[in-house]
Symmetry: C2
Subunit: 259 residues, 2 copies
């Protein structure tokens, strides 16, 4: 559910991008489980003032992305009121291959890998990101995905979701975290801090057996960047290893406190 004034503001936001994002976050959720998206149900509360123009923009944004992912817009509910725009999308999908990939299957020794890069999505990516549906489906075919999640809360926070549900720990190498250009350009915080702590990257974070990870890096099955940034451990803590070898604790919110 996206709400005007919370998730976006008019006139800054383009209604098409608002519609696009409402569906894209759902696509990313289904990608996180290596599901095949099928059909969307769209409910909207439109402000009476300029409702028609907003409706057309939102619809165009949803429809274009739905077309890209062969998703049918199967129904929903259109309303008008004196309040701000509220948009709720429900996306149905089906499991593929050996079934839905969960957060709970990470095993000690697994490689921790990600698609794309991280941080600074507020500069634009949070509205225009490409949901990693195709990448997830391919990964589910070519490797043993032990655990997977899409990064919406932030790289560190979502890694903790995997660790908590798998009852495991992790080691992450700072030098291997793929930091986005946007995180570097924002300039107000260390880019690594943004890469670990900013949310809405909507990239895939997953764990695979080392052998499968090596195979992925040797023969990448798609053009989207793949990075190996650490390993799962039996020790129930999450350590961040700096370039100079010093170890610190990686916190849930991504803030790095040197020991």
């Amino acid at each position: 559910m996206l709400m005007e004034g919370v998730d976006f503001r008019f006139p800054d936001a383009d209604p098409q991008l608002v519609g696009r994002k409402a569906l894209a976050v759902c696509l990313s959720d289904i990608a996180a489980m290596a599901g095949q998206p099928l059909a969307a149900l769209v409910s909207i509360a439109l402000p009476k003032f300029s409702g028609r123009r907003l409706a057309e923009g939102v619809h165009a944004g949803i429809e274009a992305l739905a077309g890209e992912f062969s998703v049918a817009i199967a129904g929903g509910d259109t309303n008008s009121w004196d309040g701000p725009l509220v948009l709720s999308v429900t996306l149905l999908g089906q499991p593929t291959g050996s079934g839905p990939v969960r957060r709970s299957g990470a095993e000690a020794g697994d490689w921790i890998m990600v698609t794309g890069d991280f941080g600074g999505s507020i500069s634009g990516k949070h509205l225009s990101f490409q949901p990693r549906v195709a990448e997830a489906l391919v990964l589910h075919q070519v490797v043993r995905l032990h655990a997977m999640i899409d990064v919406s809360d932030g790289l560190a926070a979502d890694l903790y979701h995997i660790l908590d549900e798998s009852r495991k720990g992790a080691v992450v190498r700072a030098a291997d975290v793929p930091v986005s250009e946007a995180a570097r350009l924002l300039g107000d915080k260390p880019p690594l801090e943004r890469a670990l702590g900013d949310g809405e990257d909507f990239e895939l974070l997953f764990t695979v057996p080392e052998e499968d990870g090596r195979r992925l890096l040797a023969n990448p099955p798609f053009a989207t960047r793949l990075t190996h940034l650490g390993e799962i451990t039996d020790e129930r803590r999450c350590r961040l290893i700096a370039a100079d070898g010093r170890s610190s604790s990686l916190e849930r919110l991504g803030w790095v406190h040197e020991i």
Copy 2:
């Protein structure tokens, strides 16, 4: 999608009944196709002020009704904002028997039948109605349901939905329209006008072959009242026959204009 200030007002409305209604209207939609409801996804925007109390009330209302109909609450999205309460429920169901019953299958000679009674739902029924899921499933087993709809827009308006999609007409006998006690008690309009024009009765309106209709009345398969109020015709108009035999045109909005 139910919106505070449009579909209900606080403090008049009980949050539990608001939650109940959000699910009940979906259950009624699935009943209209003789579907078996399965799982609900609930998205909510909660006002920051008293959000927790509202959330608990809404949740209790949804959960109680979901339990009654063996519906799983499978997911959703919980948000908080400075705006009014917005509640969007998506309900998944599956077809039963020979498949979903549509609006488009009415045939000339079919009996037009309804469950329950009509009019004046604003007095309370619109918040506390019982979705006719069980009745629809039984009807789909014991008779040939040619067309069915749940009455949300009003008895006349929803009959027109069947007639439009089936490309048929109808004759309705005024004396046979089951008028609710609430429609009589409101007193500001003729009760028949309310029964035909008021919305949100959430009763089933369906057409069956005459033989099946007779069988239903002879051996009602459930306690909910069943009424035969007219027939489907090939003539593409909708006539209302008064008690004295005079014929008028039944309009889409339920308003009856004497010829």
